[in-house]
Amino acid sequence: MTSTRFSPGARAAVAALAVGAVTVALAGCATGTDTTNTAANSDADAVYRIPITDPGSEIDPLTVADYNAQLISGLVTEPLVSLDADGALNPRLATAWEASEDGLTWTVTLREGALFNDGSPVTSADVVATFEAITGEDSLSAGRSAFEGILDSVAADGDGTVVFTLARAFSDFPLLLTGTNTGILPADYEPGTWLDNPVGAGQFLLEDYTVGEGATYVKNPDYWDADDILVDGVELKIYDDSQASLLAFQAGEIDRIALTSDVAAAVDESQYQVISSGYNKFDGIFLNVEAAPFDDPAVREALAWAIDRQGLIDNVYEGNADIANDVTFFPDYELQPAGLEQREQDLDKVAELLDGRTVSFTITTDNQLYGEVLQQQLNAVPGFEVDLDVLTGEQYYADGDATPWLNAPLTITNWAKRAPSQYISLIYTADAAWNASHYANPEIEQLGQSFDATTDEAERQGLADDIAAIQWSDLPVIIPTFAKGSVLQSTRIEGEFAGDLDFDTGYSFAGVSISE
């Protein structure tokens, strides 16, 4: 008997081909969420390629709070002022800023000839509308908190001048103009529509944004400083897996990667450029001064002397930090407090302060590595018995009166870089929303307001010294280090960035080019 049917092997092959054909058909149909319906950037060699993770939020310059979302919109929008790596202010859409004698009014002069990418000029009305949107009662901007209690109103003075009226004098007001969500948008901008019409007056034009994949940009030929933008475009590629982004960097698919401990262990740093940008945060050790054992100033001080700060830098920051002295003045701030002894690990002082006692407490944090290193350091010091409670970010920052980060006896929380006196109103003031130490000292609050109110250099120096002395001696917060951002960068990139790519620096690409 002869079978006329196909053999199993042949049938399997036909089935596989059939499935493959369906795959092909579906593959041809498969798409991403292309929100701009334009072609991708094709000239990859002239494009700077940056890895990001999925922003996990809506892309609107007025409300973006996530770093990746801020970068997606920040390459297109332009701030009034930005910072460089040394902490100096760079004029962007603003060319000058000046305070009134009483410090209650700041007059900002806008750059002539600056244009939005739809061709319309950037005017004072646009700046006013942007800041009113940030600070309005119904604002959802993460930047609103920075202006609360400081900015009273903003008004136009002709087309080219904006007047900011403050609720109280604030000598570092220009620093606030470099903050979150402060990219200038047209006065008629409708919140929530940015991806439909990605408007801005910045360095690049958004060419394509695809959810889950990334974004491509081309240089904005009408940018006010277009001559200094030497790359043809930028590409943001989404990698939700750190291993994949590391391999992509090694394979040359992306031009930079954050220098984390995993990256440092996997690559030969000498093959790349190591870019260390300016200071970007501190991880504060917040001590609840209302509860035992940290209601005892001697215990707080003993803890501060027990910490091996260089050990933290080596083991937590991979060297990308500098030793701090428990005060909120970043090393690149124009004024540095004087007269304080630099704290370092001193076990004799610890023994003297504890006077034979053994102190037990728990470290609560969402920063596992920092918590583990600190716990190991302290448990090696006689007189400390330390437990560790590592929470997820959601658990740690949970809303509600009992949220761990504002109530546990000892917490470790990172704070992004701000003006020194801002921290007084945010974390050292008795009724401050984020006063995790439950600290109250009217003197430091008064000193902070005086510091903000004066522009006299000598007076400010004296006030800075007094503020720092209280922070150093009262120790509601131990600040062992100031962290710096560091990245590895492909050697095909030439020129230097003004600072790390974040909102403080306005994502500036001025002077950066790509070699042939």
């Binding site: 199993p8 042949a10 593959a27 991403g32 939020s57 709070a65 989404i238 394979a251």
Partner: protein, 323 residues
């Protein structure tokens, strides 16, 4: 009862079972999202937003009412085609999920197209060489492969084919929507990774089925009657040996089409699995619910089709009925 009526009966049963299963799953997902720590408004607005801002954001999106009322509102919308708006992306959920499903379908079918010939081929080869060095070597190889997680297999493939050689891209999403060949090239590594996760079990089952069949009485009778070659294998071995394998492949097809969170995340492939990972992290409840419903529907439909295929392949199979 005839084969056609049998199929109608299976379909009728599943038409009742599938919605019930999906309903239970939707309740569980909705409830679980509420009890795990975290707040969608806080996730969206960041740590520096005030509590008032977070509450306003949640209220604007209907996330502040009683749980049961919110669930019923969602269920009513879902049933009528209004799947809501993504809390993360601000886009309509229906377009977002179906688009990602299509991408996962493409990747899943590609992986299936690799899985079927490779696994069946290896299984038959092992059966034909039963007890030999080849059989033993393949057994060790396949068992080793089965014990390695998808993530590790994917990373090894990336290192070899994207970093050392390099002939394939690391980010698979780069090829999506850019034509057939770039897309096929970009999908190759994740598809192989997905397929390798199932090859071992399918090959083992194929081997066992073929060995058992070739040791049976009817096989020996066929041989004695002079049946040889393709007729012997196709008419007597494959039809009997592959019944459990086909059932298994049906289940795997459902799993492959629904998307893989691990593989899609590793390779940056914009599929449903990757979307669900983000939705879970950000508590994007409407995307999560819709994604889980669709994934479940795909898996259950695959099971239904497998049952039907089962009855077609083996007419002896009859599903029990109490009457």
């Amino acid at each position: 009862m005839g084969g056609g009526r049998q199929h109608y009966r299976i379909i009728g049963q599943r038409a009742v079972q599938i919605p019930l299963v999906l309903l239970v799953v939707s309740v569980l997902v909705f409830w679980l999202v509420q009890v795990v720590p975290g707040d969608p408004g806080r996730n969206a607005l960041g740590p520096y937003a005030t509590l008032d801002q977070v509450q306003a954001w949640n209220a604007e999106r209907g996330l502040d009412g009683p749980l049961v009322a919110r669930y019923l509102a969602w269920l009513g919308g879902f049933a009528t085609g209004d799947w809501g708006t993504s809390l993360v992306y601000g886009d309509p959920v229906v377009g977002l999920v179906l688009e990602r499903l299509l991408n996962s379908f493409a990747l899943g079918l590609f992986a299936f197209a690799i899985l079927v010939p490779v696994a069946l081929g290896l299984g038959v080869l092992q059966a034909r060489t039963e007890g030999s060095r080849t059989d033993r070597a393949l057994t060790v190889l396949l068992m080793s492969l089965a014990s390695v997680p998808e993530f590790v297999v994917g990373v090894v493939l990336l290192i070899v084919f994207a970093l050392l050689l390099p002939v394939l891209p690391i980010q698979s999403g780069a090829g999506v929507g850019e034509g057939f060949l770039p897309q096929l090239r970009a999908m190759t590594l994740p598809a192989i990774t997905l397929a390798l996760g199932y090859v071992s079990v399918v090959a083992r089952m194929t081997r066992t089925g073929v060995v058992e069949t070739t040791g049976s009485q009817f096989y020996r009778t066929a041989v004695v009657k002079g049946v040889r070659g393709p007729a012997l294998f196709g008419g007597h071995v494959a039809r009997n040996a592959l019944i459990p394998t086909v059932s298994l492949l049906g289940v795997y097809l459902g799993a492959l089409l629904g998307g893989s969170a691990v593989v899609e995340t590793l390779f940056g492939y914009p599929g449903l699995g990757e979307l669900l990972v983000t939705a879970t992290q950000e508590k994007d409840i409407f995307v999560l619910e819709a994604g889980v419903m669709i994934t479940g529907l795909v898996a259950l439909t695959a099971l239904l089709l497998t049952d039907i295929a089962f009855t077609l392949i083996d007419p002896r199979v009859r599903y029990a009925r109490k009457d």
